[in-house]
Amino acid sequence: MFGGAKGGGATELDAFYPIRPECKADVPQTRFKPRAGKTLSERRWHASFTQDGHLDIAKVLRRIQRGLVKSYQELVLVELIFLLKISGVLIEAAPLLAYGVHPSIKGVVWEFLLGCYDPNSTFEERNLLKEQRSTSIRLLPLPDASAYDHSSLLLAITAITAALEKYNTWKAECQRVVNVIGTGKFITTPLIGEDGQPTDNSLIGVPLSDKKVLQWVQTLHQIGLDVVRTDRALVFYESETNQAKLWDVLSVYTWLDDDIGYVQGMNDICSPMVILLENEADSFWCFERAMRRMRENFRTSASSMGVQSQLSTLSQIMKTVDPKLHQHLDDLDGGEYLFAFRMLMVLFRREFSFADTLYLWELMWGMEYNPNIFSLYEKSDSESEPAEANENAHTLSAKSLKQYGKFERKNLTIGNTEQQHSALAVFLVASVLEIKNRRILKEAKGVDDVVKILGDITSTLDAKKACTEALKIQKKYLTKTKKA
């Protein structure tokens, strides 16, 4: 579509996630370039902590979300550049300037964005934990409570310690059942035959009388089949040890979350965590936190899949904000929005290059950030009652509102408090549809045409623009539904 002009600045980003030379032409090109002085750099990240280690999350969020187009003039400019690009006048030489998080610190920042850590815990304590994490995990002593005046800090430390301990305990449990776990190897053929008996008794360590255990064992080859097909273009996965790390994390997650189990697509979500965080337990918890947001999408039954609930929200949003387009899609028998299925399941991973997805995700998680997620997750683990997520915006000061991402802030300020808030991803799909509005209305004569038109976003979608548009749609939707 666009002429050559490869390279540019985007290669700088790709250097962090090297692509096998023979696959370079095979993957979507990275379009975002970290902009020196605008990204959240390592230096700025460290400067965002107070002396004792409290993280100024508002400052971090501000920088991550900085790429979002604010002014009208800026929007016009972006629009113009976009038009010039699609009309072929402007060759794709200049990469889009990204803000986001610098690749060298993505992993640690994600841990905060996803709620693995409380921004209110201290730096020193986290350091201590990290140190002990790499040596002996089980023997970590709890800090002396009298030394800290912050009870939430203690909660945080206990939780982190317990979390790490938990991962290793779970992994050991898995290992006892199937001894391939944790060996740096993995399997791709079924461990259980048609007759319900193990195909290779030497791999199975316990009698498989428990139904849940049996179910888990039956899933492991599927995980393996997907691991060998995950981001194979990246040099990282040329190593069997790294593939096995992804397999281990997914296997332990499946062991833990037997309610949902393993569903294809989870590998796409987990892969970046395995790459960005060296410590396997850290990768696991980052993935686990990401799944808290997404796991309902993966719930399957004989007649439906969980993601269909997000699809019906999407339908609701489109009906509200753009009835004409919705009607058109409905006429084409696309009113169920099934064509957006994959975008929601793997959070646009198939639409963007690896590096661009990372940028999109941290932008999304930054926008969705709620400073209470850490304690919410911890509470919902220890209490049977799920913690109340919504706070009333009126009780929050302007300062504390800044600790919320832009998207979450709008939920608090405009949305109904009793309303279950929809994921940003759903609004993002809506924004993609809006960006393609004219073409869909004019050219789509069937749902297959819609799929084709949306397929083009692989090479043309601007994540920042889509996120800005998503915020606009959210505002419109919340305002309209509140009135009604």
Partner: protein, 213 residues
Amino acid sequence: MARRPDDEYDYLFKVVLIGDSGVGKSNLLSRFTRNEFCLESKSTIGVEFATRTLEVEGRTIKAQIWDTAGQERYRAITSAYYRGALGALLVYDVTKPTTFENVSRWLKELRDHADANIVIMLIGNKTDLKHLRAVATEDAQSYAEKEGLSFIETSALEATNVEKAFHTILAEIYRIISKKSLSSGEPAPASVKEGKTITVGGPEPTKKACCTS
């Protein structure tokens, strides 16, 4: 004959690709529609589709092929696509016996959810992996005969029999459609495109330079 644009055709046939995870469904499709094979291909999430317009028995047929996720957990979504499909390519991997053993389950799936007179073709893929073959051609052949399916072995990697497989099933669908309209005395439907289709996911990016062709 002048090359027709993609949207000019006599018939539109919807065909589904089904079978266990990792047997090579997506690569059979990319080999057929774009003459490409990708060693780094990713697992299919939900349903994806591709089309190719070709001449079959002197008619222009637009084949709309729906590629499905192999994992059983996706069945609720994928089986929705069986409706209105005139053909099904049921794929197994000749190097993996369990994928062949599961063929009967897939047949049951089709009988439960697809139109009764859907044309089914059994495909044993990955014949290029000669040293790993674990399912004998004769076994699959006799199974297909018993179940009344047509059968072919393919290699998407080496492009062996892929054209033939798709041509055979499209020709068979065409024969059934034209026979039907003869016996009913009605003209053949101009196209089957009015059939309701549901769409999931988008087509993969089309230009894949590292893919062998």
